[in-house]
Subunit: 103 residues, 2 copies
DNA sequence: CTTTCTCTGTTTTGTC
DNA sequence: GGACAAAACAGAGAAA
DNA sequence: CTTTCTCTGTTTTGTC
DNA sequence: GGACAAAACAGAGAAA
């Protein structure tokens, strides 16, 4: 880590991103370091599906994307009369929030 | 302005956006209020070109977009041997930065 | 790498 | 109980 | 409004 | 000189 000014170092210590136009602050210093990838061009994670060219910055995005190939719908509502299934955790979360279907 | 907690009011006073997942801080309180539109669905500015359906949150984006209809290239490099023209101020800025073509 | 174009935080300009 | 990292979540939000 | 899907800040889980 | 708002800039960054 190198800093071009004392001001920048102080912001870093306060968990603030110093990329131009960002200005975000975070709850942990560890995450601040992970957040940097948002501003970098690298997309190091590749979809393991043969022939798929999708790339990602975040492991979780890659994990969920892979399900569009497999068709997997791993989230199942625990309410017996409902039984809806979801491919993405976000849609499952919304279902629980809107319907109250929680065990 | 209403706040759901004292914590949220304090962040507002420190020019911090309290939308979930944002966490940005800004140089002025006035801009913090303008920044909110980033999180709202409204796109109140409409392209004035007949038949164009483009909409915008920011006036400047609308102003520059309109030039794709008119073909205008209002930015002209002041160095006589160069004379390049640009449709968008950002490209003109980059030209000056990379070449040093400044009067 | 390029060009084209939009988004947005900050700076500059204009009016009182 | 404590690190600490990895995984997963829970929204936001873009696209159609 | 809907469904599908990606992004990311925070929370939860797993290992020592 | 001071507000204060409007306009414009200067990057970042997505898309092709
Ligand atoms: Zn550090
Ligand atoms: Zn950042
Ligand atoms: Zn894939
Ligand atoms: Zn259900
Ligand atoms: Zn206020
Ligand atoms: Zn915000
Ligand atoms: Zn238009
Ligand atoms: Zn030039
Ligand atoms: Zn674009
Ligand atoms: Zn949404
Ligand atoms: Zn998307
Ligand atoms: Zn760029």
């Amino acid at each position: 880590m190198s800093f071009s000014s004392k001001q920048e170092l102080n912001l870093h210590k306060r968990n603030a991103c110093t990329f131009a136009g960002c200005g975000k602050r975070f709850g942990s210093h560890k995450y601040l370091l992970q957040h940097r990838r948002v501003h970098l061009d690298d997309r190091p994670l590749k979809c393991p599906w043969k022939g798929c060219k999708m790339t990602f910055k975040w492991k979780w995005a890659c994990t969920e994307h892979y399900r569009v190939h497999t068709g997997e719908r791993p989230y199942v509502c625990p309410i017996p009369e409902c039984g809806r299934t979801f491919r993405f955790v976000s849609d499952f979360s919304r279902h629980k929030r809107k319907t109250g279907h929680t065990k």
